[in-house]
Symmetry: none
Subunit: 217 residues, 4 copies
DNA sequence: GATGAATGAGCCTTCATTCAT
DNA sequence: TATGAATGAAGGCTCATTCAT
C-alpha cells in the first residue's frame, strides 16, 4: 500500500521537489495530528499545510490512516536506533550508562517534534491498534528489552541490588514519563519551567541510592 | 435497521424512570468513549446502548460534549475524595502512609471502570482542554499537592532524605503510571498478569531505600 | 378539529382559568410567530410563554398549524367587523367617510398587537395558503368590496371624478400600507417617527384633490 | 430514494462547468425559496434542482443563509441600477418622468423572476435582518431618495403643489405595491388580469391631478 | 504528476407530536 | 386537566475519497 519508498532516490533536477513531497505531507500531518488529533484533522488541512491539493495527498498515501502509519514508521525507527546505539552492552555497574541513556531520552523528548510522535501514538492507540502495534514492535520491543538486559546484567554482576529488572525498568523511566505528561497535558510544571534535568537528577539520586547493593551500605 | 429491540420485551416502548436515566446514559457513553474515543463514538450508539432514542439523550445532556464533561465530573470528584481521605495529615515518616496510598491508588486503577476515566481524559485532553482543566482542578490540584506536602513534611522532620518534594512525587507515582500504560495501551505485561502489587513492592523497596536519610545508612 | 370554542362559557370557579387557557396560548403564539415567524417558533416556546407544558398545548389545538389558523381567525373577524361598522352605507360625497375610515384603519394598525396579525398573514401566506384564504374570506372580501362600493356610489352620485372604484381603492390604501411596511420591515421612517397622521393628511389632500369632479375645478 | 437521475442521461456523473455553477444554484434556490420560503426549503432540494449533490452546494456557498444573501445581492444591484438609470436628474415638471419610472417599475415587477426577490426579502426580512438591511442599503436607500429628490425639485420649481416629498413618494408607489400584493398573495385581481397598466393610468391620473399647483386650477 | 470538481455516507442536533400517568 | 418522558423523522453541514482532465 505505502507508495513513498524506494525508487525516489535520484531526484531529477527538472521535477520540483518530487522526491521530498511525501515527507512534506508527513510533516504537515504530524503537526496537525499532534495539535488536533487524527479525527479532527482533515485531509484538506494537511494538503493545504503541505502546499498541495487534497487529491495530491492521495497520490502518495492511499488513505488518511496510511498517513498516520507512515508518520509513525518514519519517526520511530531512527528514534529507536538512536536510543539503542546508546545502550552498549556494558559489563559492570549499569548506573552510569543508565544515567546517560536517561539524559539522552529526556533531551530527545524535550524536542517538540520528537515528542509529537509518542504523544500521537498514545492518543490514537485505542482506535488504531495497528499503530500501537507498530510502535510496540519497532520501538518498545527493541528498546525496553535492551534496557532490561542492562539492569539484569547489573544484578547478575552484583553491581546493584537484586531487583526484578522488568519492574525496575518502570521505576527508572516512569517518572520521566509522568513528568512530561503532567506538563504537556495538564500544564503542571515544577518551578516554572520543564526542569527536566532537575527531575532526572533528583530521581536518579534516589533510585541509584535505592539500587545500592544491600550489604554494601 | 437495528431498532434496539430484542431482549427488551418485558419493557414497554415508553418507560418512565427519569431519575436513573442520566446515569445510564453516562455509563453507556463511558463505555463507548473508552473503547473508541470521543470522536468515533456516535450519539446514536450511546443512545442505543443506554436503551433510548438518540433524541432522548438530548433530554438529559445538551450536547455530545456535555456528555464527556458530565462523565468526567461524575467520576472525578469521588475518586479524588477517596484518595484524599487516605492521605491523612500525618506527622512522622511518610513512607508507611505513602505505601498505603500507592496501594490504594493502584487497586483503584485496576478496576477497569475506574481506570476508564483518566484514560479517556488523557486521550481527549488535547482536543478538549476544558476536560483537561476540569480534571486538573478537581483531581490533580487536590491530590498531588496533598502528596507533595506529605513528602515535604517527611523531609522537614528528617524522616527522609532532603529531596525536592514535587519532583519526588513524580518518582513515586510515575512507575505505576507507566506500568499501567504499557499494559493497557501496548499490551506489554511483566510475567503475564498486570502484577501491580509486585510492581509496587519492587518500586517502593527501591525508592524507600533511596529515601533513607543519608547519614543514617 | 378546533376545540377551544362553545361550551366554555360558564367558567366554574374551581378550575383555574380553564376557559382562558386557549386564548393565552394564542397570545403567546401570536407574539412569537410575529417575532420569529411560524417555522422558527417552537411549540415548546409557545407553551413556555403561555405557562403550560408542551403537551397541554395539544389539548387545545390539534397541531402547530392549527395555532396559526386559530390565531388569525380570532383576530380577523372583530377587526373586519370594526372596520365594516365604520363604512356606513353612505349616500353623498364619500370623501369624509373615507377619511374617517382611513384614520381608523391607520390608528388600528399602529397598535402592534393588531398589526401583528396581517404582518403574520403576509409572511406565512405563501406556505400556508389556507391562512391566506381565510384572511381573504373573513377580512378582505368583506372590507374591500364595502369600500369599493362607497367609492362607486360617489362616482355614481357625481361627487367624485369617474374613476375605476377597484383601482382607486388601491390608490387610497396603498400608501398607508407601504408606509407601514417601510417602517416595520426596513426601519425607514420619515422625520423620525411613524408620522402616520401626517402621511394620511398629505395623502388624502392629494388624492381628494385629484378626485374632485373634472368640470367642477 | 430520489437519486436525481432520469433525464440526465446525456450528462456524465461528474460534470465540470465550474463557472456557471454558483449561478445555477442561486437560480434553484430562488425558485424554491420563493415557492416555499427559506425555512421550508431544504439544501437537498436546492441541490437536486440545480443538478448537484447537497455537498456540492457547500462548495460554492458556505451555508444555507449565504445562499439567501447571495441571491438577493445578485438580483438587487442590477435592479436598482436599472431603476436609477431611469430617474434622470430632471429639471422641470417631474410628472412625465415619474410616469415613465412608474411604468418601468411596474413592468419589471410583472416579470415573476424579478418580483421573486423583493417578495422573498419581504418574507424573510423578519428572521434575517441582514437581508433586510442589504436590501435597504443596496436598493431602497439608493432608489427612494432619488425619487424623493425628483419630487422635491418639482415642488421647488413650482411645478407641483407644495407637498412633503417623502410622504408623497409613498402616495406614488404604494398603490402599485398593494396592487401586486393583493394579486400575488391573495389572488385578488381586478377585472381578471393583473391590469397593471390600468392601475397606473387610473392612479396617476388621480395623483397628478391632485399634484396640480393649487392656484393654477 | 497534479488538481478542481464532485459526491455518498454520516453525524449532531432539533422538533412536532404522542402517550402513560 | 395536565405533564414529563420519549421518539421518528428530518435537516444542515462535514469529510474522506474519487475521477476527468
Amino acid at each position: 500500500m505505502e507508495k513513498h519508498s524506494a525508487s525516489n532516490d535520484r531526484e531529477p533536477k527538472f521535477r520540483r521537489r518530487a522526491g521530498a513531497r511525501p515527507d512534506e505531507v508527513l510533516d504537515a500531518a504530524l503537526h496537525l495530528f499532534t495539535e488536533a488529533g487524527f479525527e479532527r484533522t482533515t485531509v484538506e488541512q494537511i494538503a493545504h499545510r503541505a502546499g498541495l491539493s487534497k487529491a495530491a495527498v492521495y497520490l502518495y498515501f492511499p488513505s488518511k490512516k496510511a498517513l498516520l502509519a507512515g508518520l509513525v514508521r518514519r519517526a520511530v525507527v531512527p528514534l529507536a536506533d538512536r536510543a539503542l546505539a546508546q545502550i552498549t552492552s556494558y559489563q559492570g555497574d549499569p548506573r552510569p550508562v543508565l544515567r546517560a541513556v536517561m539524559t539522552q531520552i529526556a533531551t530527545n523528548l524535550t524536542d517538540p517534534s520528537v515528542l509529537a510522535v509518542p504523544k500521537l501514538v498514545l492518543r490514537e492507540a485505542v482506535t488504531a491498534p495497528e499503530i500501537a502495534q507498530m510502535y510496540r514492535e519497532e520501538m518498545l520491543d527493541r528498546v525496553l528489552p535492551a534496557l532490561t538486559a542492562l539492569i539484569a546484567q547489573g544484578v547478575a554482576g552484583g553491581h546493584i541490588r537484586a531487583v526484578d529488572p522488568s519492574l525496575t525498568l518502570r521505576s527508572l523511566i516512569g517518572p520521566v514519563f509522568l513528568h512530561i505528561l503532567l506538563a504537556e497535558v495538564f500544564g503542571i510544571l515544577t518551578g516554572g519551567e520543564l526542569a527536566m534535568q532537575a527531575l532526572i537528577d533528583n530521581h536518579l539520586t534516589l533510585l541509584f541510592a535505592g539500587l545500592e547493593p544491600e550489604g554494601k551500605a
